[in-house]
């Protein structure tokens, strides 16, 4: 962790971030402001566009807000929805908390793994889907449940989840810049 922070700190002097990230961060900072209390909305804005926080975008945020990159990293990594590893276009988060677990979460997860040929924590090679587990989504009365990006799917069964994913696959093949 310390090593990684140092790496970020040092690299901020030498590393030229990608332009798209830099523009995005600048726009977000213009929109929300450049104070510390604007940090979370800016981090969320980057994640919404790029699905994760790259090292360069965190450095860029630090520069815009005039704060240490290690602090940006420290804050960002606290929150489970602020990914700092490259993610697919659609992030699937399957609820693993008690009621969903009791009501067949494992079968749902197996169906997804089987269909997408990835395990929890992995992304499909074409970068379309990432599969994660998450804590209580607040739909225990309709368990099991999952999120795909910001959309909730409830009362899941293996069949239902296969239908849902097929729709996403079709949507993704049809193309469309952001697909959301």
């Amino acid at each position: 962790m310390l090593d990684y922070c140092l790496l970020i700190l040092f690299s901020s002097h030498y590393f030229k971030p990608m332009d798209t990230s830099a523009t995005l961060v600048k726009n977000l900072a213009d929109q929300y402001g450049r104070s510390r209390h604007n940090l979370l909305p800016i981090l969320q804005g980057v994640v919404e566009q790029e699905k994760y926080l790259s090292e360069s975008s965190m450095i860029e945020i630090a520069r815009e807000l005039d704060m240490p990159a290690s602090e940006v990293y420290g804050t960002a990594t606290f929150y489970s929805f602020l990914e700092h590893k490259k993610m697919g276009r659609y992030i699937i988060r399957v609820c693993k908390t008690i009621t969903c677990s009791m009501k067949g979460k494992n079968q749902v997860l197996l169906a997804i793994e089987d269909m997408l040929k990835i395990d929890v924590g992995e992304t499909t090679p074409d970068g379309t889907f990432s599969l994660l587990q998450t804590n209580c989504l607040g739909f225990c009365h309709k368990a099991p449940t999952m999120l795909i990006n910001n959309d909730v799917y409830t009362d899941l069964t293996p069949e239902k989840v296969r239908d849902i994913l097929s729709e996403y696959l079709t949507k993704s093949k049809e193309g469309g810049q952001n697909g959301n």
Binding site: L40, T75, Y79, I98, M102, F139, D151
Partner: protein
Amino acid sequence: METNHQLKRADFIFKNENDWKEVLRKNINRPPHELINELISSELKGRGGAGFPTGLKWKLSAEVDSDIKYVICNADEGEPGTFKDREILSLVPFKVLTAMAICGHVVDAKEGYIYLRGEYFFLKPELNKAISEFEHYCKEINLDFCIRIFMGSGAYICGEETALFESMEGKRGEPRNKPPYPAISGYMNKPTVINNVETLAHAYTIFTYGAKRFYDLGVQYSRGTKLFSVSGDTPKPGIYELELGMSLTDFVNDFGDGDTKAVQVGGASGFLVPRKRFAETTIGYEGKLIGISLPTGGSMMLFNSSRSMFNVLDNYLEFFREESCGQCTPCRVGCQQLLKGIKAVKTGEKNAGHLDKLLRLAETMQFTAKCGLGQSVANSFSSIVENFREEMIY
């Protein structure tokens, strides 16, 4: 215990939102002390789980002298088994907004925030629409009050009020030491009233119908109604508004599947009540079953005899281990060790006596952890291990 009176259902929260303009106009023309007294005499207690008297909270904040104050609605509903706040915000958002503005009038705050958990992002567009309609009306009646949504990003601990402030200030969601309490020094170190979504919805009821109507419901120390999120092994999972003070036997008779082995009251940070204790358990604040200092209010999870209590506890501890902010040692290390410990006993690596050591560790966490998360792990841990010891071992 055969004399079952039925559960007393009520229907306040999800009804009659349409008169919000009238309720707002009427109440912002009343003097603050009158509104505070109304809330205090209703005996409304916080519905997030901690049960602090709402009127007192408003009063404390109103008495502090400060040019900037805040009203925050805590919509970081993350307790396993709780899903009522989402329903309130999607069905009757204007009740919550109105109560926030009345609170602003009472304590003299001009800014309100709704801290909405990241998982509920899909609520944001509709809620923003409601907010603009609301603010438009505020302008019409010359009320200076604005409301903004602040999104969370998937951290259970941010439901703890001081962690929530840290998060809003752009930091890691690590709870602060208390005192100072939020009413004196909260968001941006300014006096802040922070209420759960449901608490605000009840405040709306009180300001609409008067304190007496609310006070007459429920039982002593536990006045009014409460939303219950019912899930697990039940034929009718969902959200129900019930009067406080019901016995768990009545609850299980109504909601159980005929084979209920235990009920988890108050979510993972609450207590597990085994069948033999249903009759002596009532749901309300004096029973200390919902009174935990995290947003636990109203989660009722039923387990039937097909469920392994080891798996249940294992799931809870996994949850706490992940959601502990890691700031204080008792909680960070305690959650890890409890989880490791029960697994070791289950596999036979440690003997059954190890469970007693773990119970003592849980007790230590209760006294030494910094915030409600670490302090309340012992609730579910001890109530499960003590009542289902054999399931932990075999």
